[in-house]
C-alpha cells in the first residue's frame, strides 16, 4: 500500500517537473534546427505532447550559424514547427534566471 502511494507521487512529481522545465523555457529565445537544415530562432511560446513548437518573432537562417559569416535572416513572424521535423533545440542560457537547469 505504502509503495503504491509512493510510486504515484513519483510519476506525478516527474510530470510536474517536466512541465515546470518547459514552463521555465517559455518566452525565452529558442533555436530550433529542422530536418531540412534550416535554423529558426524565435521566442518559445507553446508546445504540446507531439513536441510541436510555436516560436514568436521567428527568424529563418538557411545555413548553420557557427561560422564567421553574417547571414541575413528571413523574418517569419509566428511559426509552428511540427515535432517530427525538429532535429535539435537550444535555449538562450543568458535569459534563464536562477535556474536549476543551467
Amino acid at each position: 500500500m505504502a509503495g503504491e502511494v509512493v510510486e504515484k507521487k513519483d510519476t506525478d512529481k516527474d510530470a510536474s517537473e517536466g512541465k515546470k522545465k518547459l514552463s521555465s523555457w517559455l518566452n525565452k529565445s529558442m533555436k530550433v534546427k529542422m530536418t531540412d537544415g534550416r535554423t529558426l530562432i524565435g521566442v518559445f511560446l507553446c508546445t504540446d505532447r507531439e513536441r510541436n513548437v510555436i516560436l514568436g518573432g521567428c527568424e529563418e537562417y538557411l545555413k548553420p550559424l557557427e561560422g564567421n559569416e553574417k547571414e541575413e535572416p528571413r523574418i517569419l513572424g509566428l511559426a509552428m514547427i511540427p515535432g517530427h521535423h525538429i532535429v535539435s533545440i537550444s535555449i538562450d542560457k543568458s535569459q534563464l534566471q536562477d535556474s536549476e537547469f543551467q
Binding site: 512541465k19 533555436k31 529542422m34 529558426l40 530562432i41 507553446c46 550559424l65 513572424g77 509566428l78
Partner: protein, 556 residues
Amino acid sequence: MEGTMQTQPPSDPGGQGSDGRVDSKSRYDWKDITEEFMSSASALQMGELLHDTNFGLFEAMSAIEMMDPKMDAGMMCNQIQRKVLTFDSALESGAIKIKDLSIPELIGIMDTSLACLVTWLEGHSLAQTVFTNLFLHNPYMIDDKCLKAFSILMLKLVDHIRDRVNRAGVFEEEDFQSLTYGFKMAADVTDARATGMMKEVEDDLNRIIKMTRSKVGEERDAQTEQEHEITNALFSRVKFFRLFLMGLLSFSKEKCEGIPQAQKLICQLLELLPIIRDTICMGIQPDNKEVGKNDYPTIMGFEPLVNQRLLPPTFPRYTVIRSREEALGHIEGLLYRLQIVTTVPELTTFHIIMEAFQEFSKSSPCVLSRSILQLTLLPVNKRVFGVHTMVDFLKDTIRNFIAPPVLSQKSALYNNSQAKQYVDAWFVQVVRPFTALVQITGHNRARQRDKWAHILEDLSALQEEADKVDACLHQMLTKMEPNRQHIACLGNWVLYHTLQAMISYLLAGFELELYATYEYHYVYWYLYEMLYSWLINTLHRADNFLLENETMAGEK
C-alpha cells in the same frame, strides 16, 4: 551622389560578440536542451498545450506551419536551384554591365522596366516587379549615362506615383501595394535634376539622329539608315519617360495651374507611343527558357527572385510580368484617362462633378488615374481645385439647386447673425459626408456598394440636422418676410443626395450580380415606385422653389 550607396535594406547583423566576431547569434548563449525537451514534453497529456497565459489557441491559429509546401515559402522544394544574383554579385560575375551598353540592350531594359511598372500598377508588389531590375538597386554606380539617368528617373517615378496614390486614399489592397521594402528612391536627386539628366541624353542622341538623317540628293547606306532608326527608337523612349514624369508632376501643381501643361505633355506622349510600339523588337529579348515557380526567362539586369526574402511569410506568391506590348496598351489607356482628368477643373457645381466622376468610374479606370482624379478635385490642402473651400463650393451648389433664402444676398435672413450661426455650424457637418461621396466614386467598382451603404447613415444624421435648421430658419424668416418660406430647403438638398446614394447602392447590386433573377422585379419596383419618383419630387420641389424666388425677386 557618387559612390557606392547601397540601396538595399541594411542588414542587421546584431551586436558584436565579445570575441569581436560579427556573428548574428553572438548576443545569444545557446545551450542544447533537445533531450530534456523531448522527455519533458512526454509529461503533457494528449492534446494538452503548454503556453503562457497571454498566448492561446486563438493566437496559435495564425502561426504559419513550417515544412508545409503551401505555407512555407522558404522550403527547399519551393526554392529554385540556381544562384540568385544581386547587383553586386551580378556585377562581379559579369552578368550585368554598367558601361558601354548597346542600344538594343538599353531598349530592352527600358521596355522591360515599363512592363514591370505596369504590373506594379495592376496591384503587385514592388519587390516582385519594379525592383527585380538590379540597376535600380544601385543606380549611382552606373557609368552609362543613359542607363543611369533612366534608373534614377524610374525611382523618382515610382516614388511620385506612390505618393499620389497614397494621398488620394482610394485604393484597397487588391488595387495597389505601396510598400517599398526600405529601398532608396533617389531622394537626394531633385525632379528637375532627374529630368535634366534625361534631357542631356536626349540631346546627345538627337545629334546622332540629325547626322544620320536622309538628306536631299544623298543616298544613305543601309548601316546609317539602321543607326538612324535604332537611335530614334532609343531617343523616343528617353523622351517618353522624361515627359511622363513631367506630366504626372504637372498634375500636382497647386490650384490646378499645371493642367494646361499636362494636356500638352499627354498629347506629346500619345504621339511617341506608336514609335515605341513599332520598335519593341529592336530591344534584346529574353531567351526561351522554361518558366518555373516565379522564375521566368528575362534579360540582363533583371532577377525575378532577388527580393524573395523581403516578402512576407505567406504561401508562395508568383507574379507574371506583363508583356511589353500589353504594358504599352495599359499606358495608352492611362494617358487617355488622364486627358479626361484634365477637363475636370472646368466643372462648376458639386452635382456636375458627381455625375462626371460616376461616369468616369464606369469604365473601371486604373488606380493611378482614379487617384489623380481625386487629387485634382481635392488636393492635399482640402480645397476644391486647390482654390475654394469645400463650404463655399457647396454653398454655391445649393444656391444653384434651390436658392435657400439664408444663402441669397437679397434676403434679410442672409445678414442675420443668428441665422448665419446656425447655417455655418450645419455646413461644418456637411463637409465630411460630401467629401466621402466624391471619394466613393474613386474606389474600384466592386468596393463602392459597401461604401454607399455606410454613407447612408451619415446622410440620414445630416438630414435630421438639416430639418432642424430649416425649421429654425423658417420661423425666423416668416417674422421678417412673411411671404417667403424656408421649409425644407436644406433638407431637400440632402434628400436629393441620399436618394442618389440609395439608387447607386441598388444599381451596384446588379453590376456585382448579387440579385437572383426572381428578385429583379423587387428592385425594379422599389426603384420605380419609390426612389426615382421621390427623386423627381425632390427636383420638382427645388424647381418650384427657384421659380417662386425668381417671381418674388421680380416683384420687388
